[in-house]
Amino acid sequence: MEIVLAVAIGVLTTCGVWLMLRPRTYQVIMGLALLGYGVNLFIFSMGRLSVDSEPIMVAGFPPTFEFYDDPMPQALVLTAIVIGFAMTALFLVVMLAQRGFSGNDHVDGQEDAE
């Protein structure tokens, strides 16, 4: 299982980074979103994987990882998801404004010299 998730993180990151390096703003926004998935899963995976642990405290279970999920990476990822949404929104609007301002959708505001 771990290897599947690791490969998934790798593919998402690869796609994200490749798109981020593209010249079109839309490609970059897609890339950031994919990279966001990859990074969130990565942070999540730092809490190790467990299929049937309790995410909610249950009376009688001692508070150890034997019974419970690691809550900390989850709290971090939760924050990251919301901030990621805010970033996507801001980037989208900046991208639209830039498009109206410069007349093209190149990230540098001007087409390549060639």
């Binding site: 299982m1 771990e2 599947v4 998730l5 690791a6 490969v7 993180i9 790798g10 690869t14 796609c15 994200g16 980074v17 490749w18 390096l21 593209r22 079109r24 839309y26 490609q27 897609m30 979103a33 994919l34 998935y37 969130n40 990565f42 995976s45 190790r48 994987l49 467990s50 299929v51 049937d52 642990s53 995410p55 909610i56 405290m57 508070p63 150890t64 990882f65 419970y68 999920d69 809550p71 900390m72 989850q74 709290a75 939760l78 924050t79 998801i81 919301v82 805010a86 929104a89 801001l90 991208m95 639209l96 498009r99 109206g100 301002f101 093209n104 959708d105 990230v107 540098d108 060639e114």
Partner: protein, 983 residues
């Protein structure tokens, strides 16, 4: 009553604040305030005289960072006392003078406010007992002098002069800071008292020369000494009271103040002698020579000031205690006569409308009292006997004769002294004789001159009286003050000196007379050519323009830094992103270097059993991620859909591995993000695959190469992430702080959902920051879109809508042209979606209420509710929704943020730190015992803000379509329409 010493620094700053807030026409109030403060502080300082005259040091310490040796120290010894008397006393006179000088149309609050602030900074320099603190106030004087020189900022010469002064003195200030740091390093303390006692240690230290040069750079730039003297004449664009204050008595004296202050520490070496005397002597000669050839009265005074400061610097450089005493004496004398002369020039300018010496002549007839005063002060500047300038100049001549350095210098110095004396006589004569005597040309002046208002002349009268008193009765008037002031400068042992007017016939007296005669000769020789303009500029030196060199240097530095920026940086974001990724990958690689893949890749932790379902799931996920990447350029909608699939697979993964909160949040964010990007798609340019294929081969090859490079980078980044996460996942925790949260979630957080408790309680401050960011982003999006100008080709209606007649009943009808879109437009879905709203609201509340104990919480609930609202927009159209529901997203944001903040602040009232949760146990009928944590209210804040922010972002974007269409349609109809989109 004696106030603490720091009040001498603090009061002017307080006054400055008050003055800045007064109305702009309150000239009398302003000047009374400023004058009262200056006078009060001067009296306060004067009352300390008995203490410092006895050799005492008044010292106050305000502890700030004792571990770093940084405390606010104010100390006053005799020298500081004399200087604060100059600063505050002349300050009071200048304020009185400025009251009459400034025109009623000038913005006086700014003037007096800046003047007071400058006074405070200058007091700070003088009274600082800590070197770092001294540099701080030093820089403040540079700043306020910049603002004062540029007071008339509508004039380009004022702006340029101010900028030049700031650049030169500011750079010097930085050098001074470095020098002081070196000095402090040598001594081991920044405390002035300690430093002053460590002279021998400093002079013997290998870093002495470094410290000396750096400190001299600071002092010489400030005092306009060669080769940094050029800024002072350009600073004359300041209002005359500023020149009288800053450029005679205070700011330019700060440099020589520092030299004298550190005299016991730094002086006494050959380096000191050659650097300080050399610079001073050259300045003395150049300043005097150039002053003769000026046309403008103020320029003449500026160069004369440079020259006199050169004299003081030379004296301080001679390494002789008696010369240092003479320097202190000349500081006092120069301040008195030069301030009065500047004021006199201001009066002439004020009453005649010009400062051009070629146009001014015979003013005696119109302003005899001013003329007399100016004559006396001018004579003092020339060093005429029975005036104060004479005595200090005599002392200089004596020192020049007895100097003992190198044979050639021993003969050069007296000669140079006499020549400089002749120069000062010549320009003083030109200043006085030309302006007040000679033919009456006043009919050609802009204004008919007359005596100024009486109170404008009073400061000049007082200063001239001081010149006379010191000149005639030096022992009675100044001996005690000078001894007090000079003792700390020479390090405690005051040499014997005699302040008599008459010392008998000796060499210095002869030199004085030679200088006097030479000056008169020079003046007679040059008078006619200068008056008729046959000498348009200074001979020889006129060709060397300090200003041009300064501007050339600046231009060179700017050009060089631009070139460097071009070489080292790029404005292209694409390249910057690549660099960022590369550095990240490299940093990770460097950290792992040396460890073989076999040793670190797989750990010892027992892996979970393989699940084919999960693998299949991610096969889909990976496939759609790659598909989205593939399609992102030409098929945006497809890419978006595929990306959402990858997102949904992520959601399932979170759920799979026991993270229901994450799954819920990611799911709702996924929905909102998709809508968001869909709304944006419409404004992007069309991109056709076929057109790009027709590009020339060369470009296509280059593109392929770039893609290959990026692919390699992306693969290494992705491979690294995969390896890293695998390596971590297959290991056990070495240690974790998570058990802390698990243990305390229920007893201290009052909730069983640990993740939610962490968000609203343990990491509540972090969440507060996060929702603040969300709110800021929403407002930024709104603000950016208010001024949004779409590209021309995307302004029209989309082709799908244009192709249809507007009255056709179809679900593609433009919402704008149909009055009620619900008529024919998605009628059945609209009804269903409206029914969905209350249901969604109930789900939202449900998710919210259980959030503390079960999966859910403010974020998810907020996103669910806003999705329900967005659905209304999508199906019923913007106009219908806004006509029927009053949504005010900005208020939601504000309420949410306030709620969260006040809940956090509430804890403070009970004596707990910010954001501490309190849990109340209530026993309610029917419901039984429930726990109400204050975190619940915090979560309501989060919920409200998330709803507001999401709605604001999406509706602001959605409104653009309405605006775009309307603009086109009103243009077509030629009728005006209101702009929607204001929420």
């Amino acid at each position: 009553m004696t106030l603490p010493l720091y009040s001498l620094v603090l009061l002017p700053f307080v006054g400055s604040l008050v003055a800045a807030l007064l109305p702009s026409n309150a000239r009398n109030t302003e000047s009374t305030l400023a004058g009262a403060i200056a006078l009060f502080c001067a009296v306060q300082a004067a009352m300390l005289f008995p203490e410092v005259a006895a050799g005492g040091v008044v010292r106050e310490e305000i502890v700030w960072l004792p571990s770093l040796g940084l405390n606010l120290v104010f100390r006053m010894d005799g020298f500081a006392w004399m200087f604060s008397m100059l600063v505050l006393g002349i300050g009071a006179l200048v304020v009185l003078y400025a009251r009459y000088y400034m025109s009623p149309t000038d913005p006086v609050p700014r003037f007096f406010s800046l003047l007071l602030a400058f006074m405070g900074s200058m007091s700070g320099v003088v009274l600082s007992g800590n070197l770092i603190q001294l540099v701080l106030f030093w820089e403040l004087t540079s700043l306020f002098s910049f603002l004062l020189i540029g007071y008339w900022h509508h004039r380009s010469d004022a702006r340029r002069g101010a900028r030049m002064a700031l650049t030169v003195t500011g750079t010097g200030g930085l050098c001074l800071l470095a020098g002081v740091l070196v000095l402090g390093h040598i001594v081991g303390s920044y405390d002035l008292d300690v430093v002053l006692r460590a002279g021998d240690l400093v002079r013997a230290h290998p870093l002495y020369s470094t410290a000396l040069v750096l400190i001299l750079l600071g002092a010489l730039t400030k005092s306009a000494q060669f080769p940094f003297h050029f800024w002072l004449p350009h600073a004359m664009a300041a209002p005359t009271p500023v020149s009288a204050y800053l450029h005679s008595a205070t700011m330019v004296k700060a440099g020589v103040f520092l030299l004298a202050r550190l005299w016991p520490v730094l002086a006494g070496t050959d380096e000191w002698f050659w650097l300080v005397t050399g610079s001073g002597l050259i300045t003395l000669l150049i300043g005097g020579f150039v002053a003769i050839f000026q046309k403008d009265l103020k320029s003449l005074l500026a160069y004369s000031t440079i020259s006199h400061l050169g004299l003081i610097t030379t004296l301080l450089g001679l390494n002789s205690p008696l010369a240092a005493v003479a320097a202190v004496f000349h500081i006092i004398n120069h301040a008195t006569f030069k301030a009065s002369l500047f004021m006199a020039v201001g009066i002439i300018d004020h009453e005649t409308g010009t400062r051009d010496m070629r146009r001014l002549s015979g003013l005696w007839r119109y302003m005899p009292i001013t003329a007399t005063l100016t004559l006396v002060a001018g004579a003092a500047m020339a060093g005429v006997p029975l005036l104060n300038g004479f005595i200090s100049k005599e002392m200089f001549f004596t020192e020049a004769v007895f100097v003992n350095a190198a044979p050639w210098f021993d003969t050069l110095l007296p000669l140079a002294a006499v020549v400089a004396g002749a120069f000062s006589v010549a320009y003083s004569l030109r200043f006085t004789v030309n302006v007040f005597f000679g033919p009456d040309t006043c009919h050609a002046l802009p204004r008919t001159p007359h005596e100024p208002p009486h109170w404008m002349r009073v400061p000049v009268e007082l200063l001239v009286l001081a010149c006379l008193l010191v000149g005639v009765l030096p022992q009675w008037s100044i001996q005690a003050i000078l001894s007090t002031a000079a003792t700390p400068v020479v390090g405690g042992q005051l040499p014997a000196f005699d302040l008599a007017v008459w010392h008998g016939f000796n060499l210095p007296l002869a030199m004085s007379f030679v200088a006097l005669a030479g000056g008169i000769g020079l003046f007679v020789l040059l008078r006619r050519p200068l008056q008729t303009g046959r000498i348009p500029r200074t001979p020889v030196l006129g060709r060397v323009s300090g200003k041009r060199m300064f501007e050339g240097t600046l231009a060179f530095i700017t050009a060089a830094s631009r070139r460097l920026q071009r070489v080292l940086g790029t404005r292209r974001l694409q390249a910057q992103l690549l660099l960022l990724v590369l550095v990240t990958v490299l940093a990770a690689f460097v950290a792992l270097r040396g460890a073989g893949a076999s040793t670190w890749l797989a750990g010892e932790r027992k892996v979970l059993p393989f699940s084919p379902m999960f693998a299949l799931l991610w096969l889909v996920g990976i496939g759609s991620a790659i598909g989205a990447t593939w399609q992102a350029k030409y098929h945006r909608l497809t890419a978006l859909a595929l990306m959402s699939v990858a997102g949904l697979v992520t959601v399932v993964t979170f759920a799979w591995f026991s993270a229901p909160d994450l799954a819920l949040t990611q799911l709702s964010v996924e929905a909102v993000t998709t809508v968001l990007i869909l709304l944006g798609l419409r404004w992007l340019p069309k991109r056709s695959e076929a057109a790009d294929r027709r590009l020339p081969l060369r470009i296509r090859l280059r593109t392929s190469a770039r893609r290959g490079r990026d692919l390699a980078v992306a693969l290494s980044a992705g491979g690294g992430m995969a390896a890293l996460s695998y390596a971590v996942m297959t290991r056990d925790f070495p240690q974790s702080i998570s058990t802390f949260f698990l243990e305390r979630a229920v007893p201290e957080g009052g909730g069983t959902n640990v993740v939610n408790v962490m968000l609203v309680d343990f990491r509540g401050f972090d969440t507060l920051g996060e929702i603040a960011v969300l709110g800021i982003v929403a407002l930024t999006v709104y603000a950016l879109l208010r001024r949004f100008r779409p590209a021309p080709e995307s302004m029209d209606l989309p082709p799908q809508q244009r192709a249809l007649p507007t009255d056709l009943a179809t679900d593609l009808v433009n919402a704008q042209t149909a009055a009620d879109t619900a008529h024919g437009y998605l009628l059945v879905p609209a009804v269903l979606v409206r029914l969905l709203l209350p249901i969604a609201a109930v789900i939202g509340v449900y998710l919210f209420m259980r959030g503390h104990n079960e999966p859910g919480g403010g974020f998810v609930a907020g996103l669910v509710l806003s999705t329900a609202f967005i659905l209304q927009y999508i199906v019923s159209g913007t106009q219908w929704v806004e006509a029927n529901i009053s949504l005010r997203p900005v208020r939601w944001i504000a309420m949410g943020l306030l709620m969260a903040t006040f809940t956090g602040l509430g804890a403070l009232f009970f004596g707990y730190p910010f954001l501490t949760t309190h849990t109340a146990h209530l026993d309610l009928p029917l419901l039984g015992e429930i726990h109400v944590a204050s975190a619940l209210f915090y979560d309501i804040g989060v919920f409200t803000l998330v709803v507001g922010a999401t709605l604001l972002i999406l509706t602001a974007l959605g409104h653009q379509s309405v605006r775009g269409h309307r603009r086109v349609s009103t243009d077509a109809r030629g009728a005006g329409g209101q702009t929607p989109g204001d929420l």
